[in-house]
Amino acid sequence: MPEQQAPAPQQQMSPEQIKALQEKIKQMSPEELKEFQKKQCIFCQIIAGKVQSRKVYEDDDVIAILDVNPANPGHILIMPREHYSIMPQIPDDEISHIFAVAKALSNSSLRALEVQGSNIIVANGVAAGQRAQHFMAHLIPRKENDGVKFQVPQKTISEEELQATRKILSESLGAKAEETKVVPTLLKMPREKKVVEAKFKEKKQHKKKKPIKNKETKKEKKSGSGESINLDDIAKVLGPG
């Protein structure tokens, strides 16, 4: 379905793009068409190589392609090969990998595309702007005055509402941790009481510790690799705080 490929709901694909896509669908074998209809997902077809795309990165689990309707040049869609509709369905290890790829591609676009930043956007649900049925993370390289304007309003949230959402969410997350403990496949992860206690102790120490400034700046300089672009420079422009 052509509209599934358009990431922005208020915009549609051009008639030529729709036609080109319909043409591709027509040319598919019955088996392919069946599979297509079954999955109803153009991105599974892209991943299977049945629909052409401009791949910038791929491995066993993740594929990254250029968006045909980019917000900016270098706009990338990062997707798991496995079909998931929304992020909460995806296992942790895949999430980690998807965003490790996003980080590497953000880094790559800073180096290769003369941009000074990037946005990473995931939409779960139509109300959030999701158009594709296949989970994807958008990576949008950014420059000054590039015409991309996201509206993230700053609303005044009442004290009661803040307290209420904090309580609901923290309990939900805490309950989740309780729940994962009883899942046998997760038991290999160290979760014994000992570990937890140790972490608490550690944390108390952190509070007492005062940050050692020199050490920290040294470390940060190390972390930015200085090839064609110095990440620290980009970070520094953000100012102190």
């Binding site: 491995d59 965003f99 950014r142 993230v152 949230i157 509402e161 904090r166 939900s172 509070k207």
Partner: protein, 185 residues
């Protein structure tokens, strides 16, 4: 712990500025945004001070997004919303306002005033090819970090510290499981 005294987020991490914490472990903290785009808007931050994503070590990044995902699930299940966005602004042109990397989790409803859409730019096939080649080449140099052991975040939610009376009872867990069953596909 890498901290910067002038950084507001580091002050939140250090409990010098009060916050509404929803999740905490030794490397990660998630709080409700007091000026959120919607009620329940949370941001997930590394406790260490890293201004941009490129500086965040892979393991910490993995846990950040894993926690963001859990918060997204919790929002789906517990707040009456129709969706969530995960939003990262990396660098000033991307709209980053605080020099401490953060992952925003934004609950969404229809017509809530949040807009993360964009106008499509028309690129020629040649321009697309050039971008494709440049990125393909560059990511080979940059490389993708491999995480050997994905460490499932250990919830050390300091309920005791925030609200001494609060604990997670069996009822809550049952409630959670029943909610899990009705979970949105």
């Amino acid at each position: 712990m890498k901290t910067r005294e002038s950084c507001l987020i580091c002050q939140i991490v250090g409990n010098k500025v009060p916050s509404y914490k929803v999740y905490e472990d030794d490397l990660i903290l998630a709080v409700v945004d007091v000026n959120g785009a919607n009620p329940g808007h949370c941001f997930v931050i590394p406790k260490n001070h890293y201004p941009i994503i490129e500086q965040v070590p892979d393991q910490e990044l993995a846990n950040l997004f894993s926690v963001a995902n859990k918060i997204s699930s919790a929002i789906f299940e517990n707040l009456k919303v129709q969706g969530t966005n995960i939003f990262v602004a990396n660098g000033i042109p991307a709209g980053q306002t605080v020099a401490h990397f953060m992952v925003n989790v934004i609950p969404r409803k229809e017509n809530d005033g949040v807009n993360l859409q964009w106008k499509t730019k028309q690129l020629t096939e040649e321009e697309m090819s050039t971008v494709e080649l440049k990125l393909k080449e560059q990511i080979q140099n940059v490389g993708v970090g491999k995480i050997e052991n994905v460490e499932k975040p250990k919830t050390i939610l300091e309920n005791a510290e925030i609200q001494p009376t609060q604990s997670i009872s069996d009822d809550d867990e049952e409630d959670y499981i029943s909610k899990q069953m009705k979970r949105i596909p």
